[in-house]
């Protein structure tokens, strides 16, 4: 491992990252929150100092990047940035150290799980930083870094692949630096459009920006305790639904659309599956919310187990169902209705959707639609293979052939994902959390959703989880965002050795 090179790049990364506190600094001045203002000023100083020291340590290191350095840079980079991102929460006195790290990681990884009990009591500039960290993490801090720094070359490509979500991000341009800047420009454009839409629908600039960051990054932090429900506006909900769907779409497709292929999105088979799942789940949950199939089949249900299901009109059911389905599946995590009060079928379906996630190359987390589809097809053909052993069936995704190597990688990924999920749930339960809380806390963080169910559900937050659990969950968030490998590999002792 080329530690000095790592230090040099990390130093630059941290210093540049420190500048991203500037917008919050401005808001602090605008709202007259002078305590937060000094907190952000101090945070910038800390970032520049820390980054500067690392840079000096690594000065003059050879720019040699191999697989180790790439993985180490991405994995360590995210952990260190989450630490630096936690500084403002601590400096402003909003949160303690562990809580701040959790909140910061949750922001950067676009998870949206929070430990803040009363959101509206927190300074607005700090809340802005919370949302802004979503936005930075959504398209990827390191992707931004690649777009800015000229000298990474092919190493930049490896970094890009480690950070960008999905099995195989297609280069939009032969040169990685162009690809990175194309993506960020696209992201920026979408941000401007959504902010304008939300402002037309009646939000203030501040709220519109924060919610745009939360939507496009599929994050989920809101400025209100009641999340989107606080606005109670159909227009705002529709805008956010549309942009959540957009954020869960492969950004490469928008690039193709811009270059003349207007129907690129519709032609993409992964996207059609993605939309199909969204629509199907919305329909199922809408019917379920309207009381079909009938709830309470078991007549002798004990009093304690009976859930009071709110009554929905058909229109109201579709409205909350579509919002919640899109929010959960794209791994955003906004809420317009407390789905813990929903019938069991709807709750469980939402829980399943949490694993699916967005499309490859989107800002969404989860396992990704393309992997789920490939896995289903693999299972189906294996089944056929048992009674027609000689039939050769290639697995396709649209026109693309999914070769053996990719199939294996997808299967491995699922296996690792499940292992982490099982291990994590057991540990959380071992810390004394109830079953549903332990399981959904891991699902919600590992898939970068945000809220889980029960004590970590939409009506609650993660402050009840013990500190050790919070740290573990923070690592799960990073694993989810970086698709496991960059973080898991750091646990392997051989990874750090010199030879």
């Amino acid at each position: 491992m080329n530690y000095r090179f790592l230090a040099k790049i990390l130093g630059q990364l941290i210093a540049i990252f420190g500048l991203s506190f500037l917008p919050s600094l401005c808001w602090a001045a605008w709202f007259g929150e002078w305590d937060s203002f000094t907190a952000f000023l101090e945070s910038i100083g800390v970032a520049l100092l820390f980054g500067g020291v690392l840079y000096v340590l690594g000065r003059g290191a050879e720019t040699r990047m191999y697989q180790r350095e790439t993985l180490g840079l991405v994995g360590l980079g995210w952990l260190v940035l989450a630490l630096v991102g936690a500084v403002p929460y601590v400096m402003s006195g909003t949160l303690g150290c562990v809580d701040a790290f959790f909140e910061s990681m949750s922001g950067l990884t676009t998870t949206g799980s929070t430990v803040i009990v009363d959101i509206e009591a927190v300074d607005k500039s700090v809340l802005f930083w919370r949302s802004f960290s979503h936005w930075l993490g959504g398209m990827g801090v390191i992707v931004l870094f690649i777009a800015v720094l000229p000298y990474l070359g092919a190493g930049g490509k490896q970094l890009f692949k480690s950070e960008a979500p999905g099995p195989d991000p297609h280069g939009l341009s032969p040169r990685i630096r162009d690809t990175a800047s194309i993506l960020w420009k696209l992201y920026l454009t979408l941000t401007v459009v959504q902010t304008a839409c939300l402002m037309l629908a009646g939000m203030s600039l501040y709220d519109a920006l924060c919610h745009t960051f939360g939507t496009l990054a599929t994050g989920g932090f809101s400025t209100r305790q009641a999340s989107i429900a606080a606005f109670d506006s159909l227009a705002i909900e529709v805008i956010i639904i549309v942009f959540m769907v957009v954020a869960g779409t492969n950004f490469g497709l928008f690039f193709a659309m811009k270059h003349g292929d207007i129907w690129a999105v519709v032609k993409d088979s992964e996207w059609r599956y993605y939309l199909g799942i969204l629509v199907l789940a919305t329909v199922l949950i809408s019917f379920n919310l309207m009381g079909f199939p009938a709830n309470g089949v078991i007549d002798e249900t004990p009093e304690a187990m009976q859930v009071e299901t709110p009554d929905f009109t058909p229109g109201g059911a579709v409205r909350v169902a579509s919002f919640q389905v899109v929010s959960v599946m794209t791994t955003t995590g906004y809420g317009t209705n407390n789905f813990e009060k929903w019938p069991p079928f709807s709750q469980l379906l939402l829980l399943m959707l949490m694993f699916v996630g967005g499309c490859a190359g989107s800002t969404g987390g989860g396992i990704k639609v393309v992997r789920i589809i490939v896995l289903c097809k693999m299972a189906y053909w294996r089944l056929e293979n048992t009674f027609r052993p000689k039939t050769v069936r290639p697995i396709r995704m649209g026109d693309h052939l999914i070769d053996d190597g990719l199939q294996k990688r997808v299967a491995t990924f699922l296996m690792l994902h499940m292992l982490v999920f099982i291990f994590g749930s057991l540990v959380m339960a071992g810390m004394g959390l109830p079953v549903m809380t332990a399981v959904t806390a891991v699902i919600a963080t590992l898939n970068n959703i945000g809220p889980g169910l029960e004590f970590v559900g939409a009506g609650h937050d993660f402050h009840l989880v013990p500190d050790a659990g919070k740290v573990l969950l923070s690592f799960f968030m990073a694993m989810g965002r970086l698709e496991l490998f960059s973080i898991v590999v750091m646990l392997h002792p051989g990874f750090w050795k010199h030879s």
Binding site: G153, A154, G156, G171, S173, P174, R175, R177, D178, G405
Partner: protein, 448 residues
Amino acid sequence: MNIFIAGGGRVGYHLARLLSKEHQDVTVIESDRDQLEQIDYALDVSTVRGDGSSVMLQQGLGVGNADIFVASMGNDEMNIIAAATAKGLGAKQVAARVGNMMYLDSNILYETIFGIDYILSPDALAALEIANYIEHPGIIVSDEFGKGLVQMRQVRVDETPTVNGKTLKDIIAPGSGVLLGVIMRNGKTIIPHGDSVVEVGDHVGLVGKKKGLDKIQKLFLHEDIKTRRVIIMGGGTIGTQIARALDGKIKSVKLFERREDRCESLATLLKKAKVVCRDASSRSSLEQEHIDAVDVFVASTSDDERNIMAAVLAKELGAKRVVAIINQPDFAPLVRRLGIDMAVTPRASVANRILRLAHQGEMTTLTVLDEGSVEVMELAIDASSPVLGQPLKSVSSRFPRGALIATIIRGDKVFVPGGEDEILAGDSVILIASEDAVEPALKVLKKK
């Protein structure tokens, strides 16, 4: 510039590497997955798996909008088809790499018939390079700039007491019109200044007018020896091409080839050169053919290790200069330490030619030395250049360390600029720069 390379073998890889370092948009098409993964990992280019000669694939990738398309797969016919297809789709310039001499001998006809701009053979280019070296001993590369007004020569420093250990200031008097622009020593490249020292065994790059060069060059070379006796080992494409190029020009050319049937056909092909049917890597056969009287020994089989060992052996037995063909480019910088005077990598020769295509218009000529670690280029300066009318010493602070302006060509006048000289619109300048310094140097000289 939008460049497609079909075939990611040695030539394709090397080319992709050079072009991507210059920040060109490069796409490599290759059918072998392992090869493709290696390229994808090491280079900042985009990779596509598939058959480069497929018209559907080419169309899907938008080869029609390409500025340059290079077919460098393993098979000649596929390369010709791929290049002709790319041209048909609308690619601006296409090149096909071939190995078969039949295509190469009538390359102009084939180029016209298939509409391919360049049919190139790495072997033939390498052979040409070696034949040049044999005819003009000591000069490794020579190239012309400014429509022949200026030459660039790379010369190997012989054991002459006149220059060894001396600084550049002492060797080349100012006003001679010649500049020593680059020193290559043990595989490292140095862009020198006045106090740099020249050592025996260095390769030095000289730029200047032809007359001045002839004079200065003698300082570095032992004596103006003429090559009389040459032994070539290996009757493959390269060996044969060298023998044909030297046939009749050099007094004695002997071509060693092991296979008898091949010897026969070689003998009919060559007029005065002799074909010897035996292995040249054995001590006895070399001694029998009076290796100690040989001026140049060329090892040109397809096997790198055999070439290196045979060349070392020949040197040991008394050959004055030895040349080896090295296909694996990682070896090339090492062989000089073994006493081998010149190592030629065929793929580098082709890549250099293609690199020139990429710079057409912006630069008139470009030479690449030492596997691309140094570039020598001629730049036309127009009225938009930001350095016009400033003395060079004030420009030099902005100029990168690894680059220097070797010569200014103004009309018919050629001179090595000093600190007081200015660059004027309409001038051509010859720029020598190490690979990292090319981009920044161009930025200073040209408006972006």
